[in-house]
Structures are given as C-alpha cells and as structure tokens.
C-alpha cells in the first residue's frame, strides 16, 4: 500500500504556510520535478505518515471526527495543524483538509470542517480522479526506477565478469516479478594487445536477444539503461543488428576500455544517464537545422551519428571531421 498522502486541493488551498521547503510547494505543479506527494516537506504531511503510515491498522492514536459518518473522517493533530483524514475503499489514506490550529478561537478546525461538509458535501474534499491518476503515476515511476536500478546492477556485474572471462549473460527481467523475461543480454569484452601498446584495442559488445515482443518501449528503455551503465558517452556506441539480435559495440584503446569497466563499478550514476558529445562535428549544413529542430540524427564527416542539440561554440572540433573537411576543401 502506498504511504498516506495529501490531495492536490488540500495542498493548493489549505497548506498555505509552514513549508519546510518552499520548493516543494512550488514543485507540485511540475509533474517531472516533484517528489512523491507523501514525502513533501510540510509538518502536516510528515505527521500524516507518522500517524497513519504504520502497518497495524489498529490505529493506536486515531480519533474520528464525531458527527461525520458517511464517510468517516479521522483527526490529524500536530502542534500547529489540524487535519481531516480519509481512508478510501482500496485502503489508501488521504489527507483531505487541513488548517492552522488557532488557540483560543471559538470555532475549532473540526467544527468548521463539519460545517463545510454540510454546506459543500463530502465530495468537495474527497480525492478526485486527478488525485488518483497522480498516485498511479507515482507508483509506476517507483516501479520503473526499481527495475532500472536492478538492470543497472546486472549490467555492471556482467561487464566486470566479462572483463575476466570474456563474456557474461543475464536476463532482462519484466517489470513485475511474475512477468516473463523481456530479453536475454550478453556482454563481451575483448582486449587485443599489440607489441606496441598504442595499438592495443579494447572492445565491448552488448547483444540483446528479445524474447517478449509485446513490450517494445520497456525493452527500448532497458537497452538505454544497459548501454549507459557500460559506457555513458552516447557517441561511443555503434549499432549493427542481426535478424535476431540487437547488437551494440564500443571500440577504443585497451586502456580506455579498462577505464570504462573500472568507472562503471565505482561511479554513482543515475540509471540511463548519458553524456552527449564532447566535441563538435562537421555535418552537411543543408539538413542541420532540420536535425536540430526535429531531433533527428545527422551523420558527421567522421562517421559518428548524433542528434545535434548543443551549442558548438566553445567546444573543441572533432579532429577526424577536421581532417575530412580539409580534404574536401582541397578538391
């Protein structure tokens, strides 16, 4: 069961002050940057979890608001705040109304709340479709994040293992424990040493064999997480697939590949986080604006494929592109 949480109406209209982190109050409108609503930094919300978030439904200190039965409401009391709590049919706990405790005033929060229920109806305070959609989105986000973390760990472990034994395999699991595996993945590491250490080459090859074709977007996400875990530089990867496998490789000096393996294990990275190019490339100008605008890939003179999305000013120019460009100028 997800932890107790406030409704959006309660946050917007009732919790006007006392925020521990005002950024949280502002963040509620921005879906992408907002933390889960149950974790917002406001004393009423934090006390909500302490009191109603415990597993024993026996509710040691819970007191109902007398006079209200359909539905029943529970009291929330902190030093400065009073709140009205509702538990829905699914067992999800909601903070639906809150107000500052006013010492010495004639009408307390619960009297005025009861009056408002009478005037506006309970539905005015109960969680809306938007509240429930928000909760579902948070649950989905948490499930995906957990799945990504375990995938990241599998990739890093396989990479370390492949460095020693040459190759390592693992399953790309489905989202739920009961779901069948999405794919099987193999990581191969090959270090080809030459007499001249400058000519030593290192290679990492990732091959993904899809098994469950129904979950394309999830599998696509898995690939990004896997590749990012092994080598976060986007332009280091080369794609070349067969009919049954999706194959990606990195080629660099032996030293650079060994560094990649070491960095993957020690870094504290966000799963799926990648780095765009560090040098600027030459590409044909006729479609460059189009690529910037629609986010399509351009082919650099040096052969690298990339989506132009950074300001090239201030970036070093790709030496391979430079060489090819000069040779074109000369002809």
């Amino acid at each position: 069961m997800p932890p107790p949480r406030p409704t959006l109406r309660c946050i917007r209209e009732d919790l006007q002050s006392d925020w521990g982190d005002t950024a949280h109050q502002r963040a509620v409108t921005d879906l992408d940057s907002c933390p889960p609503l149950s974790g917002l930094d406001h004393p009423a919300i934090q006390h909500l979890s302490a009191l109603f978030g415990v597993e024993d439904g026996a509710s040691l200190n819970r007191e109902s608001i007398s006079g209200l039965t359909d539905p029943m409401w529970w009291k929330l009391k902190t030093s400065r705040w009073r709140g009205a709590v509702y538990v829905d049919d699914d067992g999800q706990t909601w903070l639906c109304a809150a107000g500052l405790r006013r010492a010495g005033e004639k009408s307390d929060f619960y009297s005025s709340f009861t009056r408002e229920i009478g005037r506006l109806g309970a539905a005015h305070f109960l969680p809306t479709a938007e509240d429930k959609a928000r909760l579902r989105r948070e649950v989905a986000e948490a499930r995906l994040a957990t799945w990504e973390e375990s995938l990241y760990t599998s990739a890093v472990t396989a990479l370390a293992s492949a460095q020693i034994s040459g190759r390592a395999s693992f399953d790309v699991p489905g989202l739920a424990a009961s779901d069948p595996a999405l794919a099987s993945a193999t990581v191969e590491v090959a270090i080809l040493t030459d007499d001249d250490p400058e000519d030593s080459i290192g290679e990492i090859v990732v091959a993904v064999t899809p098994r469950d074709w129904a979950r394309q977007e999830l599998l696509a996400r898995a690939e990004i997480v896997l590749l990012a875990a092994i080598s976060p530089d986007e332009q280091s990867w080369v794609a070349g697939h067969s009919a049954k496998q999706r194959i990606f490789s990195v080629t660099d000096s032996a030293e650079a590949v060994e560094a990649l393996v070491a960095q993957s294990a020690s870094a504290d990275r966000t799963p799926g986080e990648t780095r765009a190019g560090a040098v600027s490339h030459y590409t044909h100008k006729s479609r460059l604006a189009e690529h910037y605008v629609i986010g399509s890939a351009a082919r650099a003179l040096c052969g690298v494929y990339f989506v132009p999305r950074q300001d090239p000013e201030g970036m070093a120019i790709c030496p391979q592109c430079e060489t090819v460009f000069r040779s074109l100028e000369a002809t």
Partner: protein, 141 residues
C-alpha cells in the same frame, strides 16, 4: 603501383616523388571540370601533399574482417557476429573469411537507419521515459 588482382593498394605519402606529383596535377588540370576521374586523382594528390597516405581498393577486392571492422568503425567481435548471422556476406578463405568491398559499401548504407535510430533514442531518452511512465500508470488502473 602494380595493377593487382588481390591486393588493396596503399600509397604511402612518404614514398611519393614531388616531381611526379606535379606531373599528376598537370594531367588533372587538363581533364574536363567535373570529371570523376579528375576528382579522384585530385583527392590522391591533395592527401599525399598533406602527408596522408591513400588506400585504393577495387570494388571486387576482398577484405579481412579486421580490415573491414576498422573501415566500418566497428568492433571486430561485433563484425564477426554479423558475419555469423550472414547480415554481411562473406566468403570462406581457409579458416577465416573475406568480405567483398562492394558488399561492405552496401552494408554500410543499410546500417544508416540503425545508427541514426540509436542516436535518436539517446537524445529522446528523457521524453521517452516520461511516456513510458504514463503508459505504466494507465496499466495500474
């Protein structure tokens, strides 16, 4: 250069006599403008003048997998997987394989879509993830 049947020819920049280069440039200058042969010869001349060696390959020529991998900018192991899967045609020579230059050129152009797709997926990863979360949220209902 000896007209070869089996070798990919490399002209090393340090081997070229500059007097000969000048004579080549004179010949090129006499070709009609837009001549493909003229452009190719001019490319050779310009590269060598910069100190860069030039490799010439007959389209019928056969490449080793190591060579092919280098030309494609791809890992050797990766290339072998594609040879095994017959995505890139090859011929057996002893225990190893050879790849025809013409096949390599065609393969490279077919891969364009795959390479572009990967670059685009990286670039749009954040937006794609948000859509995925929305989709999963709908399934929770």
């Amino acid at each position: 250069m000896t007209p070869g049947r089996s070798n990919v020819e490399t002209l090393s920049a340090t081997n070229v006599d500059h007097g000969e280069l000048a004579r080549l440039d004179a010949v090129v200058a006499e070709l009609p403008s837009g001549s493909p042969l003229g452009a190719a010869l001019q490319y050779v001349s310009a590269s060598v003048r910069r100190g860069e060696s030039v490799t010439l390959a007959n389209d019928e020529e056969l490449l080793t997998p190591a060579r092919a991998a280098r030309l494609l900018g791809m890992s050797r192991t990766h290339l072998y997987k594609l040879l095994d899967a017959d995505v890139l045609p090859s011929r057996r020579v002893g225990r190893d394989r050879r790849i025809a230059m013409a096949d390599l050129v065609e393969f490279e152009s077919l891969r364009h879509a795959q390479r572009a797709e990967l670059a685009e997926r990286f670039a749009h990863a954040t937006a794609s993830r948000a859509l995925l979360v929305d989709q999963l949220a709908r399934e929770e209902a």
